[in-house]
């Protein structure tokens, strides 16, 4: 670890925190339906969309209608991606002449982009046409991000409203999010990325003759426009197979730094939107503090582990840390930081190969995802995931002092706690369940690239990443098989929607309650005690659920590595 390394980490945190208030202010205006400086240009587009779509923007929806609208929207999105992948050979904008994608891989990829997971069983430059990348993937990157933010805002309305049956209008939230938040930022962002060296063209792959006379085919394409939303929307599905490690998908140290900021920017700002909408910004800062504590702890462990290198490298006298699977322009610190950010948020883009991380360095990304990606988290998903844990923490605190728990003026009762538990328990059921199935199926075991405990980690990581809708991978695992395509798709689906539906039910039931003013017996939810309490509940629930699985994977691997055991 170096001083300049830590300085980069601190600078990163400072910039993310500095963006929270302005972005939070702007997004609050957008979702409250107020005018913004973009309105003169965008308002006509917005009203035209409502007119054609038959949406009455004044009419709000019950939580159930809101959820059904969201699900219907996704059915269409699924059909578009699946259709494009199956038919891409017959469609235009396919200069590399990619053939139709197999049904199981198309199914997996469609679910993957729908659920904001963006798991890459596909190879990007070797599988997909430009049309599929643009209309299938770029567009779904926008929509799954907008959906996540819309759901978080609906959940916030549950807390902020009093005695109301509705939690907003899904169509209005999605349209406003796409037009006013995502699209303008992405336009500026794309140009920045191209300036840094990212390709943006529709030409054929370039044939080059290298200095030594060999042939090199260089894949290009409309990269920057997709990468902008991929990072901002915490989607993470790469244009290229190597994702943000590919020099075209992340050309410089500066592009890397800005990409890391854009992963956290909207998710962190949503805590401020929460604070503003419930009438006390400090409520938002308290939640961000919980996230910050867990984040810094993760960064410290991963950075330390990667800088220390592996037993193999150290035995040969190779200093400079674990550079296997990392790029020289990012080095140890920017690779470690990126790995923790991308798994804390449900982004899943990678600028280094997590599979080649040290055992402990790779365990932190795994833990981040297993905690439910609530450390900032995916745009929207992180906030509503964190609020579920808050509900639980408040409930535990209420039990301890013997009072009915309340949070931002809402009584937390049996129904809310049940919904929160349901959403939290469904995740480990998926990733532990499917991992258990996979390790006893010989055909699934054959997909592992590494032997020993690391192979187990690969499988556990895959199902954790899919269930958490992250999309990063221990990439050695051959995921493009019938078994993994279907089981991973089911994890992604359950991990997304079986969390959303209880969360929305909770929002609906909260919105219907009366707001009560705080009394002398109310636990203050803006101070250090509350932050400590939530961190504790997260670590206890998380630790109890997945510690045994971690012991079989990264922990035993770390011990084996220190004993100089190779597999």
């Amino acid at each position: 670890m170096t001083l300049i390394g830590w300085f980069q980490i601190l600078l990163y945190c400072a910039i993310v925190v500095a963006l929270v208030k302005p972005l939070g202010w702007y997004m609050t205006r957008v979702f409250s339906g107020e005018r913004t400086f973009m309105s003169p240009i965008l308002r006509p587009v917005e009203t035209a969309l409502y007119r054609v779509g038959g949406v009455d923007e004044k009419r709000e929806q019950h939580w159930l209608t809101y959820t059904v609208a969201m699900l219907l929207f996704h059915v269409g999105g699924f059909l578009i991606i699946y259709g494009l992948m199956r038919l891409q050979a017959l469609l235009p904008l396919n200069p590399a002449e990619q053939s139709a994608v197999a049904p199981d891989l198309s199914f997996n990829t469609a679910i993957s982009f729908l659920t904001n997971t963006n798991w890459q069983n596909y190879g990007g430059e070797s599988t997909l046409s430009y049309l599929t990348q643009m209309v299938g993937l770029t567009h779904q990157n926008f929509l799954s991000a907008a959906t996540g933010i819309a759901l978080a805002v609906a959940m916030i309305r549950g807390f902020s409203r009093s005695s109301m049956r509705t939690i907003g209008n899904f169509w209005v939230d999605v349209v406003r999010c796409t037009l006013y938040v995502l699209l303008p930022i992405c336009i500026v962002y794309t140009l920045f990325l191209v300036w840094q060296g990212m390709p943006q063209n529709l030409g054929a792959y370039v044939e080059a003759t290298t200095l030594e006379g060999a042939k090199q085919t260089i894949a290009v394409g409309p990269v920057a426009s997709q990468v902008a939303i991929k990072m901002l929307g915490t989607n993470g599905g790469g244009f290229f197979n190597a994702n943000a490690a590919h020099p075209f998908e992340n050309p410089t140290a500066l592009s890397n730094f800005v990409q890391m900021i854009s992963i956290f920017a909207l998710g962190a700002a949503l805590t401020n939107v929460f604070g503003r909408m419930v009438g006390n910004q400090r409520q938002g800062w308290a939640i961000l503090a919980v996230m910050g504590v867990l984040f810094i702890a993760g960064v410290a462990v991963t950075y330390w582990a990667e800088a220390n290198g592996t037993a193999t490298l150290n035995a040969l006298g190779l200093t400079g840390g674990n550079m296997e699977g990392k790029e020289v322009r990012f080095g140890i610190v920017a690779s470690s930081l990126f790995a923790v950010i991308t798994t804390a948020a449900s982004c899943g883009a990678v600028n280094a190969m997590h599979d080649s991380f040290t055992a402990l360095g790779g365990m932190i990304p795994l833990i981040n995802m297993q905690l439910g990606e609530i450390i900032v988290g995916g745009v929207g998903a992180g906030l509503y995931g964190m609020l579920l844990f808050v509900v639980l923490a408040i409930f535990v605190a209420g039990l301890m002092v013997g009072r009915t728990p309340e949070y931002v003026g809402k009584k937390i009762e049996a129904r809310e706690v049940k919904m929160a538990m349901l959403a939290i328990l469904v995740l480990p059921l998926m990733y532990l369940g499917w991992t258990a199935v996979a390790v006893v199926l010989p055909s699934a075991v054959a997909s592992m690239a590494n032997a020993g405990p690391h192979g187990f980690s690969e499988v556990l990581y895959a199902f954790t990443s899919a269930t958490g809708n992250n999309g990063s991978a221990f990439g050695g695992l051959t995921g493009n098989t019938f078994f993994y395509n279907l089981t991973l798709a089911s994890s992604m689906f359950v991990g997304r929607f079986f969390m959303i539906v209880p969360a929305m039910a909770l929002a609906g039931s909260l919105a219907a309650k009366k707001s009560i003013p705080p009394s002398a017996g109310t636990l203050p939810t803006t101070g250090g005690l509350f932050v400590g309490l939530v961190v504790g509940v997260i670590l206890i629930i998380g630790g109890l659920t997945f510690f045994p699985a971690l012991a079989l994977g990264p922990i035993v691997e770390h011990l084996a590595m220190n004993a100089n055991t190779l597999f």
Binding site: G54, T65, S225, L313, L316, G320, V328
Partner: protein
């Protein structure tokens, strides 16, 4: 609930048109106009022929050139397309080795490479980036230590004084961005192009 079906179809299609077609196509046009070189992939031409991209590493095997990092990229086996064969710096199929810290295969590979490099230049410690594969398999850079390590071999193969080659390397060291972000590195292709120029 039935009234949600119409927006589910029409809003979806309209947003698809905006974000999936209008946005990427407009960005392609604008980016191509403002940053034409980057938008095409930062391609380098020499004598009218494209020799590569400034951002994408390429394979160098001969003693006369500086070598990049080991690359784990592969390509479909021409004999059997269900299998893959090693194809370093395949810029149409990026990827890393994905070998973990307790992998015997990786330990053997690194040990072998270290021995080769030690034989080539016994006087300096082996830099870690020269024996580890990059994440993309297309890393265009090596560390300054990685470049300086290769100076004796390159100078000998080109009949140039070591000091001259070392000076070229020093000229091609790129610092951290604003002195802070990223790592200090050397672009291998740029260095080798300069080397060819110097040898003329």
């Amino acid at each position: 609930m039935l009234r949600e079906i119409r927006p589910a179809i029409l809003i979806l299609l309209l947003l698809t048109a905006i974000t999936g077609l209008a946005y990427p196509l407009a960005m392609t046009a604008i980016a191509g106009a403002i940053f034409p070189k980057q938008a095409q992939g930062s391609l380098i031409e020499k004598d009218g022929k494209i020799i590569g991209s400034a951002l994408i590493g390429q394979e160098f095997k001969g003693d006369k050139y500086f070598h990049g990092r080991p690359s784990a990229t592969s390509a479909p086996d021409p004999a059997d397309t269900t299998k893959t064969v090693s194809a370093p710096y395949n810029a149409a199929n990026s990827g890393g080795s994905n070998l973990g810290p307790t992998s015997r295969a990786m330990a053997d590979r690194i040990k072998e490479d270290v021995e080769k490099l030690k034989a080539e230049n016994p006087s300096a410690p082996v830099p870690v980036d020269l024996v580890t594969t990059s994440a993309s398999g297309l890393d265009p850079n090596i560390s300054p230590e990685g470049a300086l390590f290769q100076v004796p071999r390159v100078a000998k193969a080109r009949n140039l004084p070591e000091a001259r080659v070392r000076q070229l390397v020093t000229e091609h060291i790129q610092g951290r961005m604003a002195g802070l972000l990223g790592e200090i590195s050397v672009n291998v292709l740029a260095l080798n192009l300069a080397l060819d120029e110097a040898a003329k």
